[in-house]
């Protein structure tokens, strides 16, 4: 938990307490927080205009609330929170992460394509499991759910393995 004193990032303990405070507030005022469900909620809102007949027959859309819901407000709020936090932060954002650039070069197309594929996989997986890092691991484990703990252990293990395959020893050659 050691961190440089000059790092603009919050250290672990206060950040974890702050997030837990928000999560407990959400349990008290709404129920288990979730973000992957917000994708279905957004799609449901879009498809309600484009293909109302389609969503009326699909179980996955029927079981989720539409856009006028806590879920939609929550994910939009996250984008707003990220925007406010980013605007008041000293480290500029990058479209291509440093480590990625060292490994695969400056190509934005390559990075955006990889991000798209990664995004596809995380949402496909999250919808199959019924939740994501927040909706299943964090919310679930907070409720002592075995599903959340099981999901959490496997996503960490597989992501660590995947990152090794993607990056190898990138960034460590000279150290």
């Amino acid at each position: 938990m050691k961190q440089n004193n000059n790092s603009p990032y919050w250290s672990v303990m206060p950040a974890a307490v702050a997030l837990a405070g928000i999560i407990v507030f959400i349990f008290a005022t709404f129920g288990p927080p979730a973000s992957s469900s917000g994708f279905i909620t957004l799609l449901k809102g879009v498809l309600a205009h484009l293909a109302p007949g389609y969503i009326a027959t699909k179980q996955h859309y029927l079981m989720m609330p539409g856009p006028g819901s806590w879920l939609m407000a929550f994910v939009l709020g996250m984008a707003i929170g990220g925007f406010i936090a980013g605007r008041t932060f000293s480290v500029p954002v990058r479209d291509v992460p440093e480590l990625w650039e060292k490994r695969f070069g400056k190509s934005r197309v390559k990075r955006f394509l990889a991000a798209f594929i990664g995004g596809f996989l995380i949402l496909f997986g999250a919808r199959l499991a019924g939740g994501c890092t927040l909706g299943l691991f964090i919310s679930g484990s907070t409720q002592l759910a075995i599903s959340g703990l099981y999901f959490g252990v496997v996503i960490f293990a597989v992501a660590m393995l995947t990152a090794r395959l993607v990056y190898g020893r990138t960034g460590k050659e000279k150290s």
Binding site: I22, A28, A85, F137, V158, M160
Partner: protein
């Protein structure tokens, strides 16, 4: 309307905090996965520990709503493998990509678009995949309390496990980094 405002407020606070700890930074997420930076995994583990204590308190006074998702040996496990590959490639999860997109990271916008495509694809095949993969090995909404026979004992065990894991991450991560 109240629920929408509550959702918006909760989301803004959540997005702000995860940006400040570096979880919206795909570079830091990659360093976490590569065992070079300990902060993000420790943050997640301790947030769960503190939240569990807080939720236990809420339940003691009868406030709040819970909903435990079932554990499906095959579907939850397979989903976690697919999710882990995507997380390792992109450095984003379904929550962080919203906050990171708001922060102005263009790769997060593409992760979000990919996420919409992935969610739509799953929704298309829900009727096939859930009966095939999820339901046969579903154990129901089991919890640690069911296993241990006591909810306070389960909270103690969970908090000990999460704190222990955070401690272990502190020991093992960042050892061989520059």
């Amino acid at each position: 309307m109240t629920l929408i405002l509550l959702g918006l407020f909760s989301g803004i606070a959540f997005g702000f905090v995860i940006q400040r700890v570096g979880a919206t930074n795909a570079n830091k997420m990659a360093l976490a996965h590569l065992m070079r930076e300990a902060q993000i995994p420790q943050f997640m583990l301790l947030a769960v520990a503190f939240s569990a204590i807080g939720l236990f308190g809420l339940q003691a006074v009868g406030v709040g709503r819970t909903m435990v998702l079932p554990t499906s040996l095959v579907a939850t496990g397979l989903a976690a493998v697919i999710f882990g590959v995507g997380w390792g490639i992109s450095g984003y999860c379904p929550g962080t990509c919203w906050a990171a997109a708001g922060e102005g990271r263009m790769d997060a916008v593409f992760a979000l678009l990919g996420g919409l495509a992935g969610a739509a694809t799953f929704a298309q095949f829900h009727e096939t995949l859930i009966p095939a993969l999820y339901l046969p090995t579903s154990q129901g909404p089991i919890t640690l309390s069911d296993w241990l026979g006591s909810s306070w004992l389960a909270v103690v065990v969970l908090v000990a496990a999460m704190s222990g894991a955070a401690w272990l991450v502190g020991k093992l991560w960042g050892r061989d980094s520059a």
